[in-house]
Symmetry: C2
Subunit: 352 residues, 2 copies
Amino acid sequence: MEEKKITIFDVAAKAGVSKGTVDRVLHNRGEVSRRSAEKVRKAIEELNYEPNFYASLLATRKNHVIACILPDIVAGEYWEKIRDGFVAGGEAVSNLNIVTRIFHYDQYDADSFAKACAELLASNPSGVVIAPLFKSGTMNLVAELRARDIPYVYVDTKLEEGDYFAYYGMPMYKSGYLCAALLTERCREEQVKDIAVVRIHRDKSRQSDPTINRRAGFNDFIDENFPECNVNNVFIDPAHPETIEPTLEAFFAKGPQYKYVVMFNSRIHLIADFLAKHPDQERRVIGFDNLDANVEALRQGSVGVLIAQHTEDQSRQAVSVLADCILMHKVPANRDFYMHMDILTRLNVENY
Amino acid sequence: MEEKKITIFDVAAKAGVSKGTVDRVLHNRGEVSRRSAEKVRKAIEELNYEPNFYASLLATRKNHVIACILPDIVAGEYWEKIRDGFVAGGEAVSNLNIVTRIFHYDQYDADSFAKACAELLASNPSGVVIAPLFKSGTMNLVAELRARDIPYVYVDTKLEEGDYFAYYGMPMYKSGYLCAALLTERCREEQVKDIAVVRIHRDKSRQSDPTINRRAGFNDFIDENFPECNVNNVFIDPAHPETIEPTLEAFFAKGPQYKYVVMFNSRIHLIADFLAKHPDQERRVIGFDNLDANVEALRQGSVGVLIAQHTEDQSRQAVSVLADCILMHKVPANRDFYMHMDILTRLNVENY
DNA sequence: AATATTTCCGTGTACGGGCACGGAATATTC
DNA sequence: GAATATTCCGTGCCCGTACACGGAAATATT
């Protein structure tokens, strides 16, 4: 319990060198003969020495930078939560001689991403958090980070490459599967005939659909359990808000009576007004993420369930895990962290 | 951004005294004249001085004790999670010259509680976490803590008194209400006629029922939405496991066909075997808390939904908030922290 | 062999605050 | 008014690490 704390002096004595030498070994500052370095490492090992965290903090004058690159923020939308989590994580480590910096890019402009990457690298970070949307740009970035031996953590989405330090995100396929299960739960097969999926109109040449796996999970569940069911898409364009209502109007008017309505991205709030105007006791509506507007729709009743995650935790923990790495060289046991999928209804949304 | 950090020397200089005096004022160690103390306080105020956290950690040799008093642990049951959270919280602050100690008591023996209290007080804690079951014993404890000016935090349950430092727990009434809503969701009134509530046989002279508010919330929802519905209780006695199955057997055999089964404590797993032996597609079973055995029952399908919380977080955060109080005199903005009620099904239990 | 370079490593001080110690100033006692 | 007690407060060392500095030893250069 009350073990004597091993200090750098103990190590120095055991290795037969001075504390300066031990320090040089500890920080790879060079200027140590191979023989001495070996003795020191052995002493550290045997004594099980670990530096006093706070003495280091006190003595060091350098600030580490943890940088984050993510899309421009639109108030109330998804990336704002990622940003908030990053900021919160930054506050938590601000006492530890760590500062955080954020670099934004336009999610529709690959060049802006490259530019943000350059700025990020210029800030000489000791760790990086990446919310990637552009694959090739991200490849370039991580290649450079790898070359500089800077650890990086993906949030939201990861690239399938081997060198990232950690990843935080939602299990997309499973979330779609869960969505379908919740949508149809306690329904017999014959009851579920038509499902309306509201999607975002997007230019496929520019970006891949980040919810594609979620959709796959959804469809698989439906195929397995309701093979007769039709899943019909309607596309809305948030860039032209005035077109949303007419589009929905037309879609819902002409088709069958849709009792099941889903959106796979975080923007179910975009159709909340429409749904509220056409109330239907029987209708089951499910969306994703606890954006304020979505929660409001949940409270109002136009949305029945939100599948949410503690989005902020992704980036908050990313900062935390990077800080641990930078300051104490800690490496997490497993590097893929999947967020829990929370089921939110009007009744349990309160303390979320 | 790069403001010069104010040190104790700056304060001393400004107040025209030595750092020793400033230090005495800072720690209320007395031996300072009213005049000097005033000057020092003024200087601190004006310079907006705050001590360097890590320097003080480095310099101090004293270990603070955070103590926890809670029932004996039965592996896999509720209090184990509270204990684990406390331990985890303790690890998180172990670098901060804080040690944690746990004192157990027999939840059926008020004397053992008093004894544990005495031991706890003898450990001279700087902060205390209390999982209270005995009201009057707890009153005695907190009276003493108050006299000694030791902050204490309730977890799980709180006493209605004014001086606790914080409280972490589940909103019991609401959780019962939510339970009823989930049990009956998407059902028409005429469908819900009979609900089976499985309860624990207990000696009322010894202990009050900790789930009483949850039951109230449940009943209120049912009364509001299904006024014709019968809620029937069956009592099982975990002290005599062999009696459980016959009891249930008899209850379920003679009554109506129960499609709705609920338990308000964390022990739904006790009836999972019975339910598995008498499968019923239509049956809806809801329990509380993500004990391993409960999660297993959820996976197997004998339980449909668990209303869970991050139980460990209660005690983990209790430690954290006490550490902040002890080391930095921080006081949380609001002292009642209600856990979020998570809805767990087979499909989303995985990363919980 | 004398000098210059490089490699290696010990010393000393800074970081900011806790606290023991003892001295000075003031108050109390006889 | 001297002796004693009490109150008050400054000094100095300690905590464990980082790093600048400069010196010694080893190696290279002439």
